[in-house]
């Protein structure tokens, strides 16, 4: 089907394009950006006056809880939440139950995704067998089944020797290795950032060195092996500075940060708020500012949701006993755009961190609006005020500290492969999906 979206402010971070005009969609691809080619006869015309048209978001880390934890969420529930959040492609870490360590799990998730709303779902394969950190997983088979990279999620590796071998083996196939920088012994049973607040609350804490020591080891092995490594979920200023330095030296490393790390700190744990229990933990003000600066510089080239939906019981208990994680698909885009309001970066830079930035890390062709690209995009109403409300929430996990936050702007429609997968319900026409 051919569609003409007219009068939208088209923002494409891939080349800084910013103009009011038309987007022509032919089938599942973009035919033209800016002006319709002569003789283009759309089957459907949409007047998007007053709206922004941006590439659909690519989220590098979203737990969908399938297989194995369907009581928390499902591929169907979470892809719909993603669509509401303007996310058109998401990447599932391999720590499902069982882990994604064979083509069977990849196929299972792909099948579930095909039955869902249409948001593209990708997986990272396990780096080691059962994520146990000892024996390498069959990475080539995983890659052939469609895994976009390999990762041990946040599970530890038995030794730096295993890490070295895993990097070498993955490099054979040009696979990107996604690693979390978290020393398991220094992390221990810690559940929040080590500092004045953990001291006051008496909670077992995670020192900054849990990240920097692990990151130091990773960077040494990247230098040794030449492996292409993506460091997931940085949480410290010092860690961000190490990435900056490594990139300046030409090491093939990239890094991302969870959106909540750019807005919340240890202080938000307040009196044991379990919705602020995340790993890596919310850290200090200096860390938050350091991460923001690295995002602005582009040394952290992707902002992800680190979406981890939970059922209510998981968050119902004394802080340390609750499960870590935030349900975050639906706040990724508003939080990212809030960085523009905060004067941290330009609109195009912010959009790049959730589109072209992550696309580059895992070699996605989407995340842009250029002719020939996949027709994955979002219509954003920049004038609407959006209060984050439980009753509007689509994720099965209601574990977010952002309820009652108000953002300017709202997703109106999300399109994947040339068709709408989500439309903001309007009064009198709540089920309209055009």
């Amino acid at each position: 089907m051919s569609v003409l979206i007219e009068n939208a402010r088209i923002l494409d971070p891939v080349d800084g394009f910013d103009a009011v005009g038309s987007l022509c969609v032919q089938g599942s691809e973009i035919l033209a950006r800016g002006q319709a080619p002569d003789g283009f006869e759309p089957r459907r015309r949409i007047d998007a006056s007053g709206l922004w048209l941006i590439p659909g978001l690519i989220d590098l880390a979203a737990r969908l809880r399938e297989p194995g934890q369907e009581h928390k969420a499902t591929v169907a529930s979470e892809t719909l939440a993603a669509a509401r959040g303007g996310i058109t492609s998401l990447v599932v870490p391999p720590d499902t139950e069982p882990p994604i360590d064979s083509p069977a799990e990849v196929e299972l998730i792909n099948r579930r995704a095909r039955q869902a709303c249409g948001v593209r779902v990708y997986v990272l394969g396990a780096l080691t067998h059962q994520l146990e950190g000892q024996q390498l997983a069959e990475m080539a088979a995983l890659m052939q089944a469609g895994a976009r990279g390999v990762s041990n999620a946040s599970k530890p590796l038995a030794s730096l020797l295993v890490l070295r071998r895993a990097l070498e083996y993955a490099t054979t196939f040009g696979l990107t290795i996604v690693l979390s920088a978290q020393d398991p012994a220094l992390t221990g049973s810690g559940c929040m950032h080590e500092g004045a607040v953990s001291t006051r609350l008496g909670l077992a804490s995670i020192p900054e060195a849990a990240e920097t020591a692990a990151l130091g080891a990773i960077l040494a092995l990247v230098e040794q092996t030449g492996a292409r490594v993506h460091v997931a979920r940085l949480s410290t200023r010092r860690g961000a500075e190490m990435i900056t330095k490594a990139r300046a030296e030409g090491l093939p490393v990239s890094a991302d940060v969870a959106a909540h790390q750019l807005f919340l700190t240890e202080v938000d744990v307040a009196e044991y708020d379990p919705n602020c229990h995340v790993i890596p933990p919310l850290r200090g003000q200096r860390d938050r500012d350091g991460l923001r600066a690295a995002v602005a510089r582009g040394d952290i080239s992707a902002i992800c949701s680190d979406h981890q939906p939970h059922e209510p019981d998981s968050k119902l208990g004394p802080f340390a006993g609750t499960e870590p994680g935030i349900s975050a698909l639906e706040t990724l885009l508003p939080l990212t755009l809030r960085l523009v309001e905060d004067g941290l970066m330009s609109l195009h830079e912010a959009l790049a961190r959730v589109t072209t930035g992550p696309a580059e890390i895992l070699d996605f062709a989407q995340g842009r609006l250029t002719p020939g690209a996949r027709a994955d995009f979002v219509l954003w109403d920049p004038t609407a005020m959006q209060e984050v409300r439980r009753e509007d929430w689509l994720s099965a996990g209601h574990n977010t500290p952002f309820f009652n936050w108000t953002f300017s702007g709202q997703v109106r429609e999300t399109w994947v492969a040339g068709r709408p997968v989500w439309t903001l319900p309007t009064e009198g026409n709540p089920e309209d999906t055009a």
Partner: protein, 337 residues
């Protein structure tokens, strides 16, 4: 401890945490729960100590019972073993004429899959008035206070490394009985500050009562991060830390600190941080020696010091009853005249 699971329809995610006072005080500043010393004001602490004073006088008489909490049911909900603390809470409740139910929950309930909230709902359904809670995880008392039915009070009898407010209050009571004014005192807290809920509550209480100087003395491996921000002077040398102090509070050293590489040995710890008769002479001549108990003799304290003329360790236990009576009567809105 209970065999049935109750799915509570009202169980919802807690709202973002209120500050401690919004949870533990009523709108007019009365004590609703006793969760932590932090954030309470000097007037309220003084009121608690004054109330405890009146009970202490009564406790020294032949008839040790008042009918203040007659008809009330108090549940000692202990998820962590404790003899002394539980016993003094029980005695305090009984001397206020309350009915007392002791519920000791070991890990077996957790194995059966009963959540903390299930346990709470089950006991709550028996129409109780107060929970006295001890749990190994920090923040448990806050969690329970947030989820109990309105009208039920929660007393924190120790949560993880966070707080043990009644212990700190009985320590303040002991100090006040002997020393009066806090403003001129130098107090040293010695030992495993990192893992100590007692130390945290004592530090808050001493600062609220405007103690002249609060010191902590420990090796760096037993000090929590940024501990100075709690309002203490940090000493790594015991001799220096004891210089001219009016009160020494020794903390218990757990054996597992050696296993987890916080310390090399009990022997070396005693050499460096054990309170001996020789070291006691560095302190003020009328110095008090305190310990929340049970003391490890020869590990953190010499027997001669624990049993010596400066020691008020057993008095602390005695006063524990009066202080807990005061807190219980105040949270139940039954203030002693």
């Amino acid at each position: 401890m209970t065999e049935t699971l109750i799915a509570h329809p009202g169980a919802r995610l807690p709202e973002p945490g209120p500050l401690p006072n919004r949870l533990q005080l009523t709108d007019d500043g009365q004590l609703r729960h006793m969760l932590t010393i932090e954030g309470l004001n000097r007037e309220l602490l003084t009121e608690i100590l004054d109330t405890a004073e009146s009970f202490a006088n009564m406790n020294e008489k032949a008839v040790k019972k008042v009918p203040l909490l007659r008809g009330k049911t108090i549940v000692n909900l202990f998820f962590e073993a404790s003899t002394r603390t539980r016993t003094t809470f029980e005695l305090a409740a009984k001397r206020l004429s309350a009915d007392v139910l002791n519920v000791n929950i070991n890990t077996s309930s957790a194995v059966k899959g009963e959540s903390l909230l299930d346990t709470l709902r089950n006991i709550e359904a028996m129409n109780v008035d107060m929970f006295v809670v001890r749990h190994e995880e920090s923040g448990t008392a806050h969690f329970i206070a947030r989820h109990v039915a309105p009208g039920i009070s929660v007393l924190n009898a120790g949560d993880g490394r966070h707080a043990h407010p009644t212990q700190a209050l009985l320590d303040m009571f002991t100090i006040r009985r002997h020393k009066g004014d806090f403003t001129k005192l130098k107090v040293a807290i010695v030992g495993d500050i990192l893992h100590s809920r007692v130390a945290r509550s004592q530090i808050h209480a001493l600062n609220i009562l405007q103690t002249g100087e609060v010191r902590v003395v420990a090796p760096c491996s037993l000090l929590p991060a940024d501990v100075d921000q709690l309002g203490v002077h940090v000493y790594n040398d015991l001799d220096a830390g004891l210089q001219d102090v009016d009160v020494i509070i020794m903390l218990r050293l757990q054996r597992e600190r050696m296993e987890h590489a916080h310390l090399p040995s009990e022997h070396e710890y005693y050499q460096l941080f054990g309170l001996t008769s020789r070291r006691l002479q560095l302190a003020h001549p009328t110095c008090l020696v305190m310990h929340p108990g049970p003391a490890n003799r020869g590990v953190e304290i010499e027997s001669a010091v624990a049993d010596g003329p400066h020691s008020v360790i057993l008095e602390q236990v005695t006063y524990g009853i009066s202080v807990r009576m005061a807190v219980m009567s105040m949270v139940m809105g039954a203030h002693q005249a």
